[in-house]
């Protein structure tokens, strides 16, 4: 039944009237159809991911716990303590205190380095702006999302924690998966 714009009468498709013998027959048929539908769910099997034992791999662009990076060849930190990440952070959860590199104590590749680098994970909203703001790719978002803890003070991640290679707790989805 196609709509004819020239016609003044709009036809409406209606289902059969409820009640009566036909209604009872249809109810019976529809009940059997429903029983079949729910039985097919048993045949289909379960879709549950049993979380603590089994984890859904995260995508490469997933924004999880932050990581700070070092140069692979020299072992110097990439972070130069410019505080752009702290400026970009909408939740104001990053604290950077910069200090000068000296010849005896060279920590980063630039002139200055981050003497203190803290991220308060209880405030972080995982927006990823710090990663975008960073001119040296010193901070990136990792894949970990299991960050719950019993104390708020334990959720302030220091520079050492962010620099350390995290335990692989979250499977990462391979390219194209």
């Amino acid at each position: 039944m196609t709509w004819n714009p020239d016609s003044d009468v709009v036809e409406v498709a209606r289902g059969p009237e409820p009640g009566g013998l036909g209604g009872a027959y249809r109810v019976f048929g529809e009940t059997l159809r429903g029983l079949k539908t729910s039985f097919m769910r048993v045949v289909e099997g379960t879709h549950t991911v049993e979380y603590p034992e089994e984890k859904i791999p995260v995508y490469p662009r997933w924004r999880g716990r932050h990581k700070l990076h070092k140069f692979e060849d020299t072992g110097l930190e990439k972070c130069v303590g410019c505080s752009l990440c702290a400026a970009a952070c909408p939740a104001d959860c990053i604290r950077v205190v910069a200090a000068e590199n000296t010849d005896e104590n060279r920590v980063s590749g630039g002139e200055r380095y981050a003497a203190v680098y803290e991220i308060n994970m209880s405030r972080c909203i995982f927006c990823g702006y710090c990663e975008i703001a960073c001119p040296f790719d010193a901070i990136t978002m990792g894949s970990d999302f299991e960050l719950a803890d019993y104390n708020r003070s334990d959720l302030i991640f220091t520079k050492e924690m962010l620099l350390a290679e995290p335990m692989v707790r979250t499977p990462l989805r391979a390219e194209g998966e």
Binding site: T31, S38, R41, T46
Partner: protein, 350 residues
């Protein structure tokens, strides 16, 4: 001690010592109570499968301790009572409900052959009465008192509504349930449950085939009698909070819950006794006697699974639909079924 031998009961003619009957009474209670957590877990697992999820699987191996955890939680909770509730009725109602449910357990015959246990012949049933079916109906009617009194005595809108719905629903479906069985009773000529099963063995066909209409009506009416979906208007979680058990908590709620699942088991066993040939296995006449109870249990499991299947499928009926279905469809159909069966029973050509 020969003076204390109990008189032969019902269709099976042999005497049983009084202590055997005491042990049997205890056993039926124990088995009935231990079947409840099993069915509880089975229902939750199966219902999960119907929804593409595995069901409870955290407590114990495959969730096997889940019902114990549930029951333990309920028993350790505070048993509160609403202010203004009618005290002794409020306490008595769940007990009435559960006693009435458990009282129907011994009626289920598991075998007609007395088993020789340590030299004593023991019948595999609690009570093989000549009026077994009547006792079954009597106790399911008493069970509805537990629901009515519970809803009424807790002085709450939702409880009261649930109880009133329960009163109407149970009374109207009891009529159809009873009439649906008239065909079976007339064909057998007895109200004894073991005689009904024997008749199905003698005529080599289960009552499900000649009494298909009666079986359908009995099944649907039983769903209503044991408050299962789509007839769970007494509880109606989404509209009446919890119906008649709204104000119950802790152990008293557990009693209602246990009664509900005993009803489910008894309904399955009753249906398999009346329509699925009890302990008879099709095309196998010489089955050994010890197998009989397991056959009955297997058939019960099948019926219980179907009831759970229906719960996973159908939504709750509207109240007026429930009433018109009971009075306008089931009752006339049951009457017609009884009439036609009566014609065939007395017909000169048969």
């Amino acid at each position: 001690m020969t003076a204390l031998v109990a008189a032969p009961l019902g269709a099976v003619n042999y005497a049983e010592p009084w202590w055997a009957q005491l042990i049997k009474a205890f056993l039926i209670f124990a088995i009935g109570f231990s079947l409840v957590p099993l069915v509880l877990l089975y229902e939750r697992k199966l219902l999960g499968r119907f929804q593409n999820r595995p069901g409870p699987n955290r407590v114990g191996v495959y969730g096997s301790m889940q019902p114990l955890a549930d029951i333990g939680k309920l028993l350790f909770k505070e048993q509160f009572k609403p202010r203004g509730a009618i005290g002794w009725l409020f306490v008595a109602a769940p007990i009435i409900s559960m006693v009435a449910a458990l009282a129907t357990m011994p009626l289920i015959p598991f075998s007609n052959r007395p088993q020789d246990i340590f030299g004593t012949p023991v019948g595999l049933y609690g009570l093989d009465s000549e009026i077994g079916l009547l006792i079954f109906f009597a106790f399911s009617a008493i069970g509805s008192y537990g629901i009515l009194l519970g809803g009424w005595s807790s002085v709450s809108k939702y409880s009261f509504l649930g109880a009133m719905r329960g009163a109407a629903q149970l009374i109207s479906y009891e009529a159809a349930q009873g009439l649906a069985l008239l065909g079976v009773v007339m064909t057998t000529g007895s109200l004894s449950l073991s005689a009904i099963v024997d008749q199905q063995g003698d005529q080599h066909v289960w009552f499900l085939v000649p009494q298909i209409v009666g079986a359908f009506i009995f099944f649907v009416a039983t769903l209503a009698e044991i408050n299962r979906t789509p007839f769970d208007l007494l509880e109606a979680d989404s509209e009446l909070v919890g119906g008649f058990m709204t104000e119950y908590g802790g152990g008293r709620f557990a009693l209602y819950y246990v009664a509900e699942y005993v009803h489910l088991i008894v309904a399955g066993a009753m249906f398999s006794t009346l329509f699925l040939g009890g302990w008879h296995i099709p095309f196998w006449q010489g089955a050994p006697g010890f197998i009989d109870p397991f056959v009955v249990l297997a058939k019960t499991l099948v019926v219980v699974s179907v009831i759970i299947w229906i719960r996973a499928t159908l939504p709750r009926l509207r109240y007026d639909q429930l009433m018109s279905f009971g009075w306008k469809i089931l009752l006339p159909l049951a009457t017609l079924n009884a009439l036609v069966t009566a014609l065939f029973v007395v017909a000169p050509w048969s």
